[in-house]
Symmetry: C2
Subunit: 325 residues, 2 copies
């Protein structure tokens, strides 16, 4: 009997997408669905967190609550949207202390308020384990929506912030390295709401997504959506300072930066010749945007490392299928 | 240490509502949140289903998928909304057969399509158990929104459909009674979308909610929201024909009709003297609406049974706290 374990997450999602007929203008497969509501799109996204696979050690209830809101807002950010609100559903055991749910809900509320939005409703159910489901919705001018598709050969590839930070935090918690800032980045993701809105307004962005599943996987996603290939220069990727404190081994560092994920940064493409305009948006947002490569019409996605061109591997996180480690 | 088990679901929700600051015009506490988006409200609602507590025996994967969509649409119906779409998050084990998820997603898709809407996105995560979270959103003209508050003394209390059907289905499955129609009503709830929209347009409705948590609980909810009291005549409640096949005992029948829940019907109030207008809406929808009592400004909610006036008890389903049976 074929089970989901034999398929992997992406294949499972493909089966689901074959069955479901969506009326949305932008359907499943982007960071959010986009529904036509007049002169704007309504953006909607949902994310489930289950204790076992998605809640790293060291995360307290406040962090868990913060995260379920942050990861959903990150999807709104990736489409250039302005958040309108969230709903959160909580499955929780009857043995959980009241203090736990209070702190968790505090984290949810604080994250929403920090990004100028709010939790407008929810559901609470008894369950054997802690499960959270968040749904965020937002709006964006139709002509300003940022999609995964749209990049053309010659466009420049850029990322926000510093990569490998959340991964360094993961290993810091695991091996007690005391990289507090990185640990906090893992525990309390920072959705790029302001940056997404500014990039949307700028008119220079040709495609965008968040890199929560890892940079390599996200590059493959943009590539699949645009029908283009991507060349990334490893040396130009902005790396969090904690990466070299987490691993001395250069290959492990590279794996962290390219594949670990959980950095809720934006990966996007801009028209060539817009470097100055991009820099202005970066200054306006107080967030570094770094050009890491270019869009090409080649055969495969390429990583340039130390002057050598190698095939970029798609090694981001995937559920269901046992990870080969 | 105080745990959620000592509190009960409603008290837990009150704790959550104290912490969360919602910007929505209609906040937590109604069937949906309502957010101002110009000349309409955006309605949003979320519902989580966990295997243990919420999936009755006898439900196959198709029914489970249908239900998670139906229960969310029922909340949109209760506010008089037109559905815009849904997102569904699925937590599922890697041991689940592919066929299971295909059937479940078929059920989701069919239910959404049946009510002229669609599933526009979702999330799939590996989990130890099956957990579903659905979020529905819809829109309604601002002046036409149906809320839990708003009833005035003298208004008439009405319900759609026939009560006790889902409960009869539950006992039919449990005791092999073969009440197929009732079993199907339990397995595949029918959200009153068309009816909610028609009641909203009619302009005669003063308050509304769905009775998924049971009639008695819903009466108390409307009462709390309007600050009025409710008098229900047991003899006038439209009872599904299966109720007397499920139990010979009249008290058990009464418990089924008043407290079991899972009938996704609408409980609403209309201005007095609008009986004829209500009947026209019923005919238009092809759905019976029955007047079961009236709104008063008394001391407590009353059930009139066999000419006797008794205090109506709030005995609907509540999670967390152990049920006294």
């Amino acid at each position: 009997m074929k089970t989901l374990g034999t398929l992997g997450e992406r294949e499972t999602i493909r089966i689901i997408e074959k069955i479901i007929k969506s009326d949305a203008t932008i359907g499943p497969g982007d960071d959010c669905a986009a529904i036509d509501i007049g002169n704007k799109y309504l953006l909607v996204t949902t994310d489930m967190m289950v204790t076992k696979a998605h809640i790293p050690k060291g995360m307290g209830p406040y962090d868990i609550g913060w995260s379920i809101v942050a990861v959903n807002l990150s999807d709104i950010a990736a489409m250039g949207g302005t958040p309108l609100g969230l709903v959160t559903a909580i499955g929780i055991t009857r043995g959980h202390p009241i203090d736990f749910i209070e702190q968790m809900v505090d984290g949810m509320n604080d994250c929403a308020r920090r990004f100028n939005t709010s939790i407008v409703g929810g559901d609470t159910k008894e369950h054997d384990d802690l499960v959270l489901c968040g749904t965020a919705f937002g709006e964006v001018e139709k002509s300003r929506i940022l999609l995964r598709k749209g990049a053309q050969a010659g466009d420049l590839i850029a990322v926000s912030g510093m990569l490998g930070k959340a991964g360094s935090g993961f290993y810091s918690i695991k091996r007690n390295l005391g990289l507090t800032e990185a640990e906090n980045a893992l525990k309390r993701p920072w959705p790029r709401i302001k940056e997404g809105m500014a990039l949307s307004s700028s008119g220079i962005v040709t495609s965008c997504m968040d890199i929560s599943d890892g940079l390599s996987t996200s590059i493959f996603e943009l590539s699949r959506n645009s029908g283009m290939t991507y060349e990334v220069d490893y040396a130009r990727i902005p790396k969090a300072k904690e990466v070299e404190l987490a691993f001395h081994d250069l290959e492990r560092q590279k794996d962290l930066v390219l594949n670990f994920g959980d950095d809720f940064e934006l990966l996007f493409t801009v028209k060539r010749g817009t470097e100055e305009a991009l820099e202005r948006v970066a200054v306006e947002c107080g967030c570094p945007f770094t050009i890491v490569g270019k869009v090409t019409s080649g055969e495969e996605n390429i990583l340039i490392d130390n002057g050598k061109r190698e095939k970029l591997e798609n090694l981001g996180y995937e559920h269901f299928r046992t990870r080969q480690t």
